[in-house]
Structure formats: C-alpha cells, structure tokens
Symmetry: C2
C-alpha cells in the first residue's frame, strides 16, 4: 500500500456501518485532499448474508468472518459497529492486542469494560477512539479530552438520550401523556419496539459512565449510577413545573465531583426555564460542562441517526489514519489554495426578509407613499404595525415585516424613501430576519 494509504476494516454492516461505508467511499477524494491521508476500506465483516447484497459495494469486500479483519496486516484501523458486549468485545480486544487502532460507537461495551480496554491500550500502544458513543457526531469526547485539556471538569449535566427528550417535549407541548408520546416517538423511528433502554435511563447511564470516566480519570461503572426513567411522569408534572416554578423537565445525566468521590445519577430533573439546557427540545441532545478555567461550556446537536453517528466514526478514523501515516492527528495543514481567497457574494445579491422601522410625520398618505415605493422595487410587505403616539416632535414609528426580498432592491427602495425629507424624519432602520 502507498505510504499515505491507510487500510480500514469495518465490522458490522447495519445502519451505522452502511452510513460509514457510504460516506467513506463518497468522500474519499475530499478526505485525501483535506486530511492528507487516503482511507481505503479493505474488508467489511458481516454475518448476515442479506445485508451484504448491495449494488454499491463490491461483493469481494464482504466476509462473514471477523477474524479475516484481525488477520489482515494491511488493516491498521478496525471499526467495530456490531454493538452488544460479546462479539464486539472480542473484536475490540483482539484488534488492540494486535496493535491495531480501534474506532467504536459502542457505549455499552465501553461503559462495561472500561478498565479492561484501557489496560490493553496501555500495554499495546494502540489507540481507541469513540466519539460517536456519546451524542453521535457532536464532538463531546474530543472537547472533554482535548479541547478542555488542562481543565478540571468539576461537574456536568447532559441530555444524552434523544428519545426521552422527544417524549418529554411532546408531553409538554401537546399536553399528551407518556404512552401517547412514546407512540409518536416510535412512528418517527426514534425508538425501538422495546423502548426500555431509553425510557428507563440505561442508555443515558452508559453515556454518563463514559463521560464521568473521562472527567474523573477513573472508571465509573454504570451499575454504580443511580438510574431513574420517565415512565412515572404525568403531563400534569410538566404543566405544574412550568406554571408554578418556571421550570422545564428533562431527563438529566448529572456528574458532580465531590473531593475523591463523585455524584453520578440519571433522573428526571426540573431546571430553570432560562438555563441553556431548557432550550434543548425534541430529539436533540446537549452536554453542559463546568470546570475550573474555561467557564461553562455547552455542546448541542443530534445524538443519534445514521449520518450523525457515521460522522463521529469518520472523524475518528481520519484522526487515527493521520497517526498511522505519521502525521499529527489534529495538525492543521493549510488548504491547498491558502493564498487564493474565497469569493464573497455581494450583499446586493443576498435574500432575506426584513424588519423595517420608518420614523415619519403623523399624517395621512404617508403609509401609502412608503408602500408604493417598496412595491416599485419589488419589496412585498407581509405586515404593518404602528406603535404608540407621536413623540414630542410629532414623529411616529411605522414598523413593517417584508417577505423574502433581494437586498439590492430593498436598499434602493429605502434610499428613495429616506430622501423624502418632508415626511421621513430619521434614517430608516432595516434588520434582517433569519428563518
């Protein structure tokens, strides 16, 4: 293999495995250009023959035997995507023992076997990365381990399970009870036939185990984490919390360092409505971290899904492939055209809707003249509001919202209107509205 080509073996061709293979193949040239390494999928191990019948991947790449991946000396990175704790454990420990680097998204395995896996990492010098094990493609593992390196993470609170956050959001916004919200989550593909892992908090506890182990530097076994789900909650609880206490109800994973010990717990929690976590709705996840130096940091995004999960796996593969190719993992190489600058679209070509505030004299006919000038320049008015009485100088504010309009057209209209000194008394204020 060429020096810059790094061989990868994928174990498990389910939903996430499919996404990883699809993206690695589609983006191969872009990754080579941006990251300076060529990532080649050498083998995909999948036991289920039906899954291997696909037109997009050459059938010669498939093997039913995961041992083929471990035995191939040209495979330097093993990507474990079968899940579970039995075969997955064999793959991860087998690969590390052979000095192969490992990427995995398997939160249950990491949480249950942290000590064993990291003893192997220490002995063999191989590395393991697991960005997708918590919050999928949102880079929380990197942030905790590298971005906040040198920080003492003293506490964190996380919404780490998208299914339960969706259920709680539905219960609050639609006024429905738990069972009905579960059915809606199921219809949207957000939960398994048996939602127990999600709604009883075990998925969040596995993720808390990983984050707590990273934050503390000691293994936090999931069975030591107090874990309470959301089955017993009623819509009334959410409504009461909102009305009486101004609080939102979230299933939180909580970690708080206390001397040599730590609090570690998963349970429904009321948080103040102005806390950044309160704005995390539907199937979104977020992690709010406290530490001794950087100030509070929050990361927010999708915690599940084929492409989000594949995104984190691919970022890990790229980091390890750079190590294999003898480059620093996070070393910023210049883009090819570092001296050619990006062409910026002129503002006149931008389109958005606008908020407009005109300061005019309070006289009949003013509004129709303004509306006429806007119309001439193809600016379409969505709504008009006049507020308050004239000020001491007889000036009133006319406020409008426009439909989407070309900025060049809007500027021309305002130039014309602001030139009417007899009726317009101050420069018109125009503010873009982002939808």
């Amino acid at each position: 293999m060429r020096r810059n080509t790094v061989g990868v073996g994928i174990v498990g061709y389910g939903v996430v495995g499919n996404g990883v293979v699809k993206l690695l193949r589609r983006k191969r040239a872009a990754i080579r250009r941006q990251a300076g390494v060529d990532i080649e999928i050498r083998r995909i191990a999948e036991r289920e023959p039906a899954r291997c019948r696909t037109s997009s991947v050459p059938s010669a790449l498939f093997t039913p035997n995961m041992q083929d991946i471990l035995d191939d000396p040209d495979i330097r990175i093993v990507v474990e995507l079968i899940g579970g704790k039995t075969s997955a454990r064999q793959i991860v420990t087998g690969a590390l023992s052979r000095g192969k680097h490992v990427v995995t998204a398997n939160k249950a395995l990491l949480a249950a076997r942290w000590g064993e896996i990291f003893s192997l990492v220490e002995r063999t010098g191989a590395t393991i990365r697991f960005e997708s094990s918590v919050m999928a493609g949102v880079p929380v593992i990197r942030s905790l381990h590298e971005g906040l390196a040198g920080n003492n993470v003293t506490a964190f609170m996380g919404i780490l399970n998208g299914t339960t956050n969706f259920i709680l959001t539905r219960m609050e916004q639609r006024g429905v009870e738990f069972q009905k919200a579960v059915e809606e989550a199921r219809k949207r593909g957000l939960c398994e036939a048996d939602p127990a892992l999600d709604v009883d908090g075990h998925d969040a506890a596995d993720k808390l185990s990983i984050l707590g182990s990273l934050a503390s530097g000691q293994w936090l076994p999931p069975e030591n984490i107090y874990t309470e789900g959301i089955r017993h909650l009623a819509h009334d609880d959410l409504a009461f919390g909102r009305e009486q206490f101004g609080c939102d109800l979230k299933l939180l994973a909580v970690y708080k360092r206390r001397g040599s010990r730590a609090e570690a717990r998963v349970h429904p929690t009321f948080i103040p409505g102005d806390h950044p976590l309160a704005a995390v709705r539907n199937e979104f996840n977020a992690l709010y971290l406290q530490n001794d130096t950087a100030g509070p940091v929050m990361l927010y995004g999708k915690g599940a899904g084929q492409l989000p999960a594949a995104s984190g796996v691919i970022a890990d593969i790229i980091a390890q492939a750079r190590i294999v190719a003898g480059r620093a993992a996070g070393d910023l190489r210049p883009p090819v055209n570092s001296s050619r600058s990006l062409v910026v679209v002129p503002m006149e070509e931008i389109s958005s809707s606008f908020y407009l505030r005109f300061s005019t004299v309070d006289r009949p006919g003013v509004l129709s003249r303004i509306a006429g000038a806007l119309g001439e320049h193809k600016v379409s008015i969505q709504s008009v509001h006049q507020r308050g009485r004239p000020d001491a100088h007889g000036v009133v504010a006319i406020v409008m919202a426009t439909h989407t309009t070309r900025e060049g057209d809007l500027r021309a209209a305002i130039r014309k209107i602001d030139a009417w000194k007899s009726i317009v008394r101050k420069k018109t204020v125009a503010i873009r509205i982002e939808d």
Copy 2:
C-alpha cells in the same frame, strides 16, 4: 532537557499571558500526569518592566527581548500573546521559520495574514494552533477542524462577540437604550474605553474570517465581509421583534456556502425565539453549525476573560507538546488507575430541592398529616399548590416544592406517607429541582 519535557516561550505578559503562566505553573504536575508531557516555561518576553515585577514568577525568566525566545533552541513552542499585527507578526513568522510550533489567540493577525501564515506552515512543517482566537476556551476550532472532519460545513451562524450580546440582552431585559447598556457593559469590565471594535462588528468579523477560512479551505479576508454594528438599534426594535414576530435580536456572524462562493456578513439579525441561539444571553457566545452529515451542532460558552482565554491556549500547548514529545496529539492514554473505579456518593447523601406530587383523597386534615410527616423528617416546605378538582375516583393532586433537603430524609418521609393507604391513592412522585 528530559525527553518528555517540552520548553515553551511566552511572548506578552498582559492579562492572558498572566493567566497562562499562572495556570501552567499551578497545573504542571497534573498536566504531566494526564497528558504525559512535562511543560516547562523557559522564558517570558515582556517589554514593559512594570509587568515583570511579580513575586510569583522568578525574575530570571523575564526578558525584554523577544528575540531571546526565537534564539533559544530548547524552546519548541512559542506562545504569542502580545496582540496587534506588527510585532506579533514578526514573532509568529519568526517562530514558524525556525520550525518552532506556534500558539496564538490573535484573531486580528490570523484574519489579516492567513495566507502568509499558512504558506509558512506548509513550507516549514511547524504547526500553528489558535483555539482561543474564537470563543476563548470553547473548543470551536477543534470542533470545526477535527470533530467535524469529513463533514462539509455548509453554513454557520455565530454570536461571536460577548460585549454586544450583553448590550443587546440589557436593552431587551431592562428596557434601556444603547448608550446606557454600553455604560453597564463598561462597568462590568466587558468593553474597552473605546468600544468601537466590539459594537461596530469588527471583532466578530475577524472571528468570522477565521471560521470561514477553516470551513471553506480558502482565505476569507475580513475586509471582504459586510460588517454592520448595533449603534443604530433602539429598545423599540427589540420590543417590536419580540411582541410582533416572536423574534430575538442578535449580532450574528453569518456564513453560507453558495457553490464556489460564500455569503459572509456580520449584522444585527432577528432569529425565532425557539432557535437555540435565541437562548444565548448576556456575555455568552455560541456558534451554530450546519453541515452535510452530523446534523446541526452548537457550541456555547464564554468568549472572553483571562481564564477562559488561557484555557484554550493551554489546550493548544498540550496538543503541540505531545507532538514534540513524539506522541499523538489527541491520543487517549488511560488514566493511571484505569482499573480502580470511581467512588460514587450514595443517593441518600445527595441534597437538592424537590417537586412532590401527592395523589390523595379530598378530605380535611390530609395536608396537615403530610406536612407533619415531612417536618418530622426535616423536610422543609417552600410552597404548596392544589390543582383542579377531584377526579372520578375522588383523588386530588397536592403539589409541593421543598427547600434543599437530604435525599435520605425525603425518601424516609415519602415511605411513611405512601404507607397511609386510606388517604394516599398513588405512589408519590418526587422530582429533583436543579438550581
């Protein structure tokens, strides 16, 4: 020097320089343990003699001459913290030319000299890191460059200047006008005597230049960015936006890829009240990223301040020190005690306030019996609410909020109350409240 010891030179001993030196010295042993490298400050260059008179740092470390840092072969990492674009440029290009790695927080220099700096990086093989140049210690650079590696970042919107976000938050919440809000920001040390760089949007434009260059792979010069500040906004605009459109007003840095070109602009923008960026208040910053794979990702935190800025600088130094010491930058080494697990505090010892919902028969005396049982177990009631009428079975909900209480005490009280089968008809629901 010992193999694992990496020499660092600091240029500039102002506010951030002070923070970096203080933290590196205080945390030296912890960094050695966690990151596997020993970081030694070999020299601090500072021209201002008054700044060098400090009891905490040996005076022999100081030099007025930054050339001493460039000439010391044992200094492998140069940390530029003087700001400005003249001497800072000499330091950065001088260090890279000598093959030394560079850490900088200098957004203005990076934005103005992107092409020159990265041409040097390409030629010399030295690396440059600049996490603190945007959003201080919040790992946005890493996330964009490494965490989302393999993603095509198609658009982002950022609240990248804390001073203006504080001013807008004040104008909205306190109903004050721009000038008064600026004075409040000044009182809190959030802006310079001349707030122009902040309030006219230039600071945000420099940061947009850096993020846009990273996202596009081409230099986005700040002078090509349309830049509009917040001086012309009135409290009325914020009030109107809220009342009429349900929108919040933010100074946004906007990037949108459009084919081979991109939109790049800084201006006040109305965003819907339920957008994650709308919940970013006061001096906080946030970056909301869109891409082709991971789904929307947001990072949130403090964008300025001595320790937050020092945090990002130190994370960069650690990453480069690992490269110098021959280790992979982001490689996760196991904590020393990977097999000894973290001791978790028992739930009985946790303290928090509680929301309680009792399902009782609708009969006089019930409330006083419940309150009595809580009192016996040292649970202090903050408020009591009874909601609605009895249901078909004659059951009513009594809702309470408690003051902070030991979980063990609360559980004992509820066990007792739930045993009163004649008056309590369902298991009591207890939900923790996080303040």
